[in-house]
């Protein structure tokens, strides 16, 4: 059983469409990070959220941290082929100290 559940596992959309991916846990996060990984490369940090209800925007990407700090979402507006990749959420849990726990990821494919 994964400590972090990401959904959907795979998403294939047309350029210009909007999408949302989710990251959920039954435990409270001390912090939540989103990473993006392209084929043949390592993950790269997109954002860190630490406060319940926090919303952060990065160009066309909007990240939200749930009020109870047990879930997060990533919304992409007007997706572009360059958004294609694996999106990973990673949660910091108090009982795990400084080790992040990663979800299995959402594979996003944006077709032109």
């Amino acid at each position: 059983t994964q400590l972090l559940e990401q959904s959907p596992q795979f998403l294939s959309i047309q350029e210009g469409e909007n999408l949302t991916v989710y990251c959920n846990s039954s435990s409270v996060f001390s912090s939540l990070q989103w990473y993006r990984q392209e084929p043949g490369e390592g993950p790269v940090l997109l954002v860190t959220v630490v406060t319940g209800g926090e919303v952060k925007k990065l160009k066309r990407l909007t990240f939200q941290f749930g009020d109870a700090r047990k879930d997060s979402s990533l919304h992409i507006t007007a997706a572009q082929p360059g958004d294609t990749g694996l999106y990973l959420c990673a949660g910091g849990f108090p009982e795990y100290g400084n080790k992040l726990v990663f979800g299995a990821g959402t594979i996003l494919r944006v077709k032109s």
């Binding site: 994964q2 972090l4 990401q6 596992q9 001390s30 912090s31 990070q33 990473y35 043949g40 490369e41 390592g42 993950p43 790269v44 940090l45 860190t48 630490v50 990973l88 990673a90 910091g92 400084n98 080790k99 992040l100 990663f102 979800g103 299995a104 990821g105």
Partner: protein
């Protein structure tokens, strides 16, 4: 800027052979990690280090050993490779960012055990 460098990038082993993966970082980070990435499983922590000369077990440590003799290097060893260790291995180093830790990853090392 090199960041985190992993060698080798690709390796094929036969069952029972041994090998070492090398990770080097030039960011003066205290913390370093080894993860493995398998389809549908995400990144799972194998071992990590909070400083030179220290190591600790992660989520899936069995069959692996590590050493951190120098702050900039973190080695991952497989003493007797098994097909179940076929995976992509990522090294990362980290620095604190507020209440969290930003991980910087290498490009990965793809290992196949036959």
């Amino acid at each position: 800027n090199a960041g985190v460098t992993q060698t080798p990038k690709f390796r094929v082993l036969k069952t029972g052979q041994s090998m070492t993966l090398l990770c080097a970082q030039d960011m003066n980070h205290e913390y370093m990690y080894w993860y493995r990435q398998d389809p549908g499983m995400g990144l799972r922590l194998i071992h990590y280090s909070v400083g030179e000369g220290t190591t600790a077990k992660g989520e899936v440590p069995d069959g692996y050993n590590v050493s951190r003799l120098k702050k900039q290097n973190f080695l991952l060893g497989l003493e007797s490779a098994a097909p179940s260790q076929t995976s992509v291995y990522f090294c990362a180093s980290s620095r604190p960012t507020g209440n969290s830790w930003e991980l910087f990853f290498g490009e990965g090392s793809r290992l196949t055990v036959l």
